[in-house]
Structure formats: structure tokens, C-alpha cells
């Protein structure tokens, strides 16, 4: 466990032997306030950390502690009130709106708690959604989307509508959509929140696999059993990063003591 302070991350060792490798994600003094000046909510307070390429991090904390807020800041979705987010060295909030959208399109993948599959599109079309704004042969789009569906094991359901498949299958389609542009960073908000144990474990194994393949994965979760698949657990409380825990990435083995006090 490493307690963090306000020092610039460059001076802050992560404790990893390969810490000289440039980080994939770097949060620098991140703060986020919501609401009008007279009714401010401080959702995040001065959060610093860095994640290496291929790292699989879980963000944990009680409800309202700022997990989703942190994820949206890391995902280039909403600008922090203070601080910076660097992804692969790019200061994402220094980018203009269009460039930032392009950055999300090309570099980031999102998996949402409610999956957010379009009910009027079949799974294949849902997976093709991020390709809709890319200049690409429609054959190529199909091939890529089928590829992504195959990777999560639901390519046989390509022509089904979301409400014609199970929750676990919807989740995987949502993951396929996040993967279709081959992102370097995958961000997931409670990916197992709506799944049973068995499906949850499948999804976790998939995320771990992706991380092992070099993708940086950040996942918000409530569940300790999900978090043990991650190599790193960031604990939030009341908008502050209160603990940064590294675990040996051995999801097959029973791990104890993952939870911070």
C-alpha cells in the first residue's frame, strides 16, 4: 500500500521495478467539482496516480466516493476542475472537442454498467457503432465487428437484438463494441454489476486476458471478487485516493486481504 501525496507523479515512484517505463495513464492532481458555487459537490479531491501499459486496475470505494467521476475524467469525457490527465503522454483536456472525440474513438474503449446497447440495432450493428463515423469499407467494418464478437465469444448471436440475448451476452457485446477500434485503454464501470457470478468471472477473465495482452484496463467495481482479478486496486473515499494496493496477478488462486481497511 502506498499513500499518495501532492507531489508531481514524476517524482513519485510507483514501487514497480519497471517504473522508468513511460506510464499509459497519468492522473495529476485531479479534482472535480459539480454544481453551482453555492452548492458545490467536491466529487474528487487532488487524485494522483499512474498506470503502466498492460496494467489492470480496479477502482473501489463506497457509493458516491467519486469512482464514476474518476472514470469519466480518465476517459476524456469531462474535464477536471483542476489537474491533468495524460494518456500515453497526451494531455487529453488540452485537446479540442473534436480531437478529444477522435482520441476516444481511436484510443479508448468504454464498457458501461447498463451496457448501453442500442435496442434497435442487432449485436453486430451495435458493435459496428463506433465504426459508423470512420471511413472504412462496410465489408471491413463487418469483418472487424464479427472479429470483436468472436473474441468475446458471442459471434453466433450477431443478428440478435439486445433484448433477445441474456445479460451476460449483452455485456460481452458491449465489450466487443469497446474493443472494435482496438483501443490501448479500456475503461469499465461496474462491468459485473448486472451479472451473476459465473458470467462475472468470465468477463473478469476476459479483462485480465486483455491486460495481459498489453491493454491498460481500468475498472470500477464494488465487488471484491471482481477486484482480485486486477493487479492494482485504487481505493477512493469521499473523493480522495485513500489507498493504492498492488496484488499479485494470480486470479486463479484464492487471494486474501485484497480489501483495504
Amino acid at each position: 500500500m502506498t499513500s499518495l501525496n501532492g507531489f508531481p507523479p514524476e517524482t513519485l515512484g510507483t514501487g514497480k521495478p519497471d517504473s522508468r517505463e513511460p506510464p499509459m495513464i497519468e492522473a495529476q492532481g485531479l479534482s472535480k467539482e459539480y454544481g453551482r458555487p453555492e452548492a458545490r459537490v467536491q466529487a474528487l479531491k487532488n487524485v494522483d496516480f499512474r498506470l503502466e501499459p498492460g496494467e489492470f486496475a480496479a477502482i473501489m470505494g463506497p457509493s458516491g466516493s467519486g469512482k464514476s467521476t474518476l472514470l469519466s475524467l480518465l476517459g476524456a469525457l469531462s474535464a477536471p476542475s483542476a489537474g491533468r490527465v495524460l494518456i500515453d503522454g497526451v494531455d487529453v483536456y488540452g485537446l479540442g472537442s473534436d480531437t478529444r472525440a477522435d482520441f476516444r474513438l481511436g484510443r479508448l474503449g468504454f464498457v458501461f454498467q447498463q451496457f448501453h446497447l442500442a435496442p434497435y440495432l442487432n449485436l453486430l450493428e451495435n458493435v459496428m457503432l463506433p465504426l459508423a463515423v470512420r471511413k472504412m469499407e462496410s465489408k471491413e467494418k463487418r469483418a472487424r465487428a464479427l472479429d470483436a464478437l468472436a473474441r468475446v465469444g458471442v459471434d453466433h448471436l450477431a443478428n440478435r437484438l439486445p433484448d433477445e440475448v441474456s445479460g451476460g451476452e449483452q455485456e460481452r457485446a458491449a465489450m466487443a463494441r469497446a474493443l472494435v477500434n482496438r483501443p490501448t485503454v479500456l475503461l469499465a464501470d461496474e462491468p459485473t454489476g448486472n451479472l451473476d457470478q459465473a458470467n462475472g468471472e468470465k468477463v473478469m477473465n476476459l479483462l485480465a486476458e486483455l491486460a495481459a495482452g498489453g491493454m491498460t484496463v481500468v475498472m470500477v467495481t464494488h465487488s471484491a471478487s471482481s477486484a482480485r482479478f486486477a493487479g492494482r486496486i485504487l481505493h477512493l473515499a469521499d473523493g480522495r485516493l485513500v489507498a493504492d494496493e498492488k496484488t499479485a496477478v494470480q486470479p486463479e488462486k484464492e487471494q486474501g486481504g485484497c480489501q483495504a481497511a
Binding site: 476517459g75 469525457l77 469531462s78 482520441f103 476516444r104 459496428m128 463515423v133
Partner: protein
């Protein structure tokens, strides 16, 4: 998959809502197209009446004083203060420039005769021409041949004439071959007979009291024809009978203007409805739009998606409205246009205009929701329910 497919899929999933969104526009286009079709049909009908039915040019002798003639019919005793018209001059009608527009010529000789000790007006006419000039005549019995008369409704009553009655007229015995149903015109007062016989009876060979001319007048210049006839036939006073037609035309042009106004107004209101409903639908879909932004759609992509949706909707509204307008006109046609209804023709200009107006209104109405959608927070997609 591209943006168009997204739009089409999304709309096909929300058909009921889509119909609701376009209702106003559809009604507007339907009103424009339907009313235009109806007013066109009415205009065509009036034009056909002009062409086919009734006289619209009247030739009378040049009079020195005021004559007691109303719509060509002598109302009182007939006097010869003026030089009469001559049958031989009828040929001059064929010489005018617009002679091709003349559909029928009805010469008439009027005089009074004594029947059953009463003075009665007698008109010598060409019954073949009357067929054209008085299509509204309803004859009980039949049109008279030589030696027969046709009695106007009032004349028959006053003179107590019935079908088949015989009467003495200037030394000849004539049979009543037909009686006219009331027309509400001076025809009711008259006895009609074949003109050559009336010439003999009145001892006015080769003379005419007046000539009715039916001009084919769909767009033909009646006023010019009047001038042409006046020039070709000295001694004739020529005038156009247009009051009735002009009145109908005026009413029609009012109706046309009204239907345009109503159609445009409804379409504009329909555009507002589109604005409001699309605004609501965009707000409802804030999560979906947030998702689009989150996965990397630019603001301009979102704007495009919403505008494409309103384009598809307003195109559908336009086409549906044209169909409904035509259908409605087809249903209403028998009520408004007498006879066998006339034919339904949609002016392509009108169709294009109403379609274009629908599209323009749809796009205008889409701008505000599109911009609102583009401003939506992409992190909305992360908000849990």
C-alpha cells in the same frame, strides 16, 4: 454500418413516436396538396363550363337608347327602334381571328304573338345550338320539330298549355311538343320554336334579334373576341357575359389563396411541433447521445444524426402528406365538384413546393434539437440509473 443506417434503424424502432413527430407536417402538406388539387379541379370544372356550357358572348343590335334586355331576353314588348341583325352576317363570325375558339352560335329571333287572346313572346331558335347553349334545360316531352313549340314553364302555366295541346299561332296550328322545367331565367316566359318557322310567323325573313356565342374559353381572350366580332360585324353590339363565371372564378381564387395560406400555416405549425417533439425525444435519449459522444462521435456527428433524422421524418411527412392530400381530395371531390367529379391532377409544382416546404421546416425544426444534442455531456453515459 454508417450514420444513415443508424437513423433508419432507430426510426423504425420508434415508429409510433415518429408518426407523432411528423403529424403536424403531414397535415400541413396534406392540406396544401389536397386543397390545391380541389381548387384545380374546381377551376378546371369552371373552365369546362365556360368552354362547353352556355353562352358567354352576346350579340345584339346596336341600340340608340336603353334596351329592356336582360341576359339577352326581351322583358317587355319588342320594339324595332334599332336596325335589326341579319342572318347573312352570321358568316362574319367565321372570319375573326379567334374563330377557332367559337364552339356554338345561337341566333335567335324574338317577337310577340297572340295566343289565346294573350300576348306571348316567341323565340325562334336553332335547337341544335340550344343543346349547347342551354345544357341545363330539362324538357318534359321533347324538343320541337317543325310545326311544334316548346313552352317555358311560366308561359305554359299562363297560357294553360299542356303537352300535346294544339294552339293557333298566326294562322298556323302548332302542337306543344315539350314543356321546360323552371330555369329561373327569362326562358321561363318564352315559347320556343324552330327559327325558320318563326321568321315566317313574324314575317321577318332573314332577321335576327340577337346571337348568343359560346366561346371555348379555357384561357382564350373573351374580351379580344368581343372586339374582333365588333369589328367584323358593324351594327352589332357585342358584350361578354362574364358576371357569373367571374364571380365563381373570384370565389375560386379566394379559395386557392385560402388553401395556400392554410397549408403553409399548418406546415409551419407542424414544423414547430417537430421542434418540440424532437427536443423532447433528444432529451429522452440523453444517455444514448452521451454514449455516442463517449465512443468517439464528434459533436458534428451528433448534429448530423439529428438533422438526418429530421430529414427522413420530414421527407416521410411530405410523401405521406401528398398521399393523404390526394386521398382526401378524392374523397371530397364528389361533394364539391358536381358532375362525374372531374379528374384528380396534382400540379407537380405544388407537389414539389409542399415537399420542399416540409423538408425545409423539418431541417429548421431539427437545428435546435441537434445543437442541444451536441451539447450533451458525454459523461452522461456513465450516470447510473
Amino acid at each position: 454500418m454508417g450514420l444513415w443506417l443508424m437513423v433508419m434503424r432507430s426510426l423504425s424502432r420508434r415508429k409510433a413516436k415518429a408518426v407523432f413527430i411528423i403529424l403536424g407536417l403531414t397535415v400541413g402538406v396534406a392540406a396544401m396538396a389536397g386543397l390545391s388539387v380541389l381548387s384545380d379541379a374546381l377551376t378546371t370544372q369552371v373552365n369546362q363550363q365556360l368552354e362547353k356550357y352556355g353562352a358567354n358572348i352576346l350579340i345584339t343590335p346596336k341600340s340608340k337608347g336603353l334596351s329592356l334586355v336582360y341576359e339577352g331576353m326581351n322583358l317587355g314588348g319588342f320594339s324595332y327602334e334599332t336596325a335589326p341583325l341579319y342572318e347573312k352576317d352570321l358568316g362574319s363570325l367565321k372570319t375573326i381571328k379567334n374563330s377557332g375558339n367559337i364552339a356554338a352560335v345561337g341566333p335567335m329571333l324574338l317577337g310577340t304573338v297572340r295566343v289565346k287572346d294573350t300576348d306571348a313572346p316567341l323565340a325562334g331558335v336553332d335547337f341544335i345550338a340550344m343543346d349547347y347553349l342551354r345544357p341545363w334545360w330539362q324538357v318534359t316531352g321533347r324538343l320541337p320539330a317543325r310545326g311544334e313549340v316548346l313552352a317555358g314553364d311560366q308561359a305554359a302555366r299562363v297560357l294553360d298549355l299542356k303537352l300535346g295541346d294544339r294552339m293557333d299561332l298566326g294562322g298556323q296550328t302548332l302542337t306543344v311538343a315539350g314543356v321546360l322545367a323552371p330555369t329561373g331565367s327569362p326562358d321561363d316566359q318564352l315559347l320556343f320554336a324552330d327559327r325558320p318557322m318563326v321568321e315566317t310567323l313574324l314575317n321577318q325573313p332573314g332577321r335576327l334579334s340577337m346571337v348568343e356565342v359560346a366561346a371555348l374559353c379555357h384561357g382564350c381572350p373573351v374580351e379580344e373576341m368581343v372586339a374582333q366580332i365588333e369589328a367584323a360585324w358593324p351594327g352589332a353590339s357585342v358584350m361578354a357575359i362574364q358576371s357569373v363565371v367571374k364571380g365563381r372564378m373570384h370565389a375560386l381564387s379566394l379559395f386557392k389563396r385560402f388553401s395556400w395560406g392554410a397549408g403553409v400555416l399548418v406546415t409551419v405549425v407542424g414544423g414547430l411541433v417537430v421542434l418540440v417533439t424532437m427536443m423532447a425525444s433528444v432529451r429522452e435519449r440523453s444517455r444514448e447521445i452521451g454514449l455516442w459522444r463517449a465512443i468517439g462521435f464528434r459533436r458534428s456527428h451528433v448534429v448530423r444524426l439529428v438533422l438526418m433524422e429530421s430529414l427522413v421524418l420530414s421527407l416521410a411527412a411530405g410523401l405521406l402528406g401528398l398521399g393523404l392530400g390526394l386521398g382526401g381530395a378524392w374523397l371530397l371531390m364528389p361533394l364539391l365538384v358536381d358532375g362525374h367529379g372531374g379528374h384528380l391532377t396534382l400540379n407537380p409544382g405544388v407537389a414539389l413546393f409542399s415537399l420542399a416546404l416540409s423538408l425545409v421546416m423539418g431541417q429548421l425544426a431539427g437545428i435546435h434539437p441537434a445543437l442541444a444534442a451536441a451539447r450533451m455531456d458525454p459523461s452522461e453515459a456513465l450516470r447510473s440509473l
